[in-house]
Symmetry: C2
Subunit: 204 residues, 2 copies
């Protein structure tokens, strides 16, 4: 079983060119603050102080606290999200289990707090929207591999249908129900792969 | 085309027996406060004053502000959510379009604020969780009718797979993307009815 590293390509809405060394120092400082003091300790000011960076530099690269927090959050993700097992059904199950499992750690608290903040802060909403769109495109690799192998039909709007899986996880996170059984996860994946209709595509 | 009224059965977690006339007065007062003053004006205290009800009565029937707000929110829903067109594909499209459309009104602001509050308030989280579970069961009527007609296969865990549709709408609400096109909505419904796999259920 081989792993595919998550896509950490920067979002296109962040226009300013970043200096890799400074970017790394800032993200490392931000992660340390979050680990040591939690969300309440996290601010652009605190990150600037610890990274010995100017606040304007941080704001040039991350237009909001939420945007920076999302990058820190994303860095905590391991490399197992888009596991390539050679089987789409298994890849989708691993994806759902890995995401739900990740959110049982402190990362879940961080992500739900960003979602909450986005409901009253337009800058956070923009960062969250960019992130969600980027992630649905990235996770689409699971179905793209299936199409290439011939076990997923072509013609699907892959980022759009991948939203169904990530959204399911979001709702579970936001309602505190991160423990669906492996059977329930497999049921969802099988239902979607097989189709709900009695006669498959002829039902259309 | 006939309509099915949304299920407004009270959630089982609310144990105390309610007096229908008082309940109606409280919900009506709460809706008026929300309409006139918005979310910032909404409090149990304000509702009690306007409904000439005791705060203990309100708290006996609604254990949190979020629980009361969810009931007020739910009452604003029309009767078109679970339209019975005689065709499961069409019913699902109508469901998604109606929910996304409903959230373009002030109801969307109310619902996303409840979700945000639930991320830091355990009582709000409990109310939201109860509501989400109840709604997924209620919307399952769409697929149950399909099973009865023979166009949806039996053996699906209907509330579980209905979560895919409601979750999709939640993510769209929470990221400010309530305007998928009719084509995109139809694509999602067709993808799920038909299945993603090339060979339908034989792929399992």
């Amino acid at each position: 079983m081989t792993m595919t590293a998550p896509d950490i390509t920067k979002r296109t809405s962040i226009g300013a060119q970043r200096n890799p060394a400074s970017e790394d120092a800032i993200l490392t400082a931000a992660a340390e603050i979050l680990r040591e003091g939690g969300l309440s300790a996290f601010s652009i000011e605190a990150v600037a102080r610890r990274a010995k960076a100017g606040k304007p530099t941080i704001y040039r690269w991350w237009p909001s606290k939420a945007a920076l927090l999302l990058d820190v959050y994303h860095r905590q993700k391991g490399e197992t999200f888009y596991a390539d097992t050679g089987n789409t059904r298994e890849d989708l199950i691993v994806f759902l289990e890995t995401l739900l499992g990740f959110w049982k750690t402190s990362a879940g608290e961080v992500f739900r707090s960003i979602i909450a903040e986005a409901q009253s802060d337009p800058a956070a909403l923009e960062a969250l929207r960019d992130y969600a769109v980027t992630r649905c495109r990235a996770s689409g690799v699971i179905l793209e591999r299936g199409v290439a192998r011939g076990d997923i039909r072509s013609g699907l709007d892959i980022p759009l249908v991948m939203e169904l899986f990530s959204s399911f996880c979001w709702q579970r996170l936001l309602t505190g129900r991160l423990n669906p059984s492996r059977d329930q996860i497999a049921h969802i994946v099988d239902a979607v792969l097989t189709g709900f209709a009695t006669t498959g595509r002829d039902a259309q």
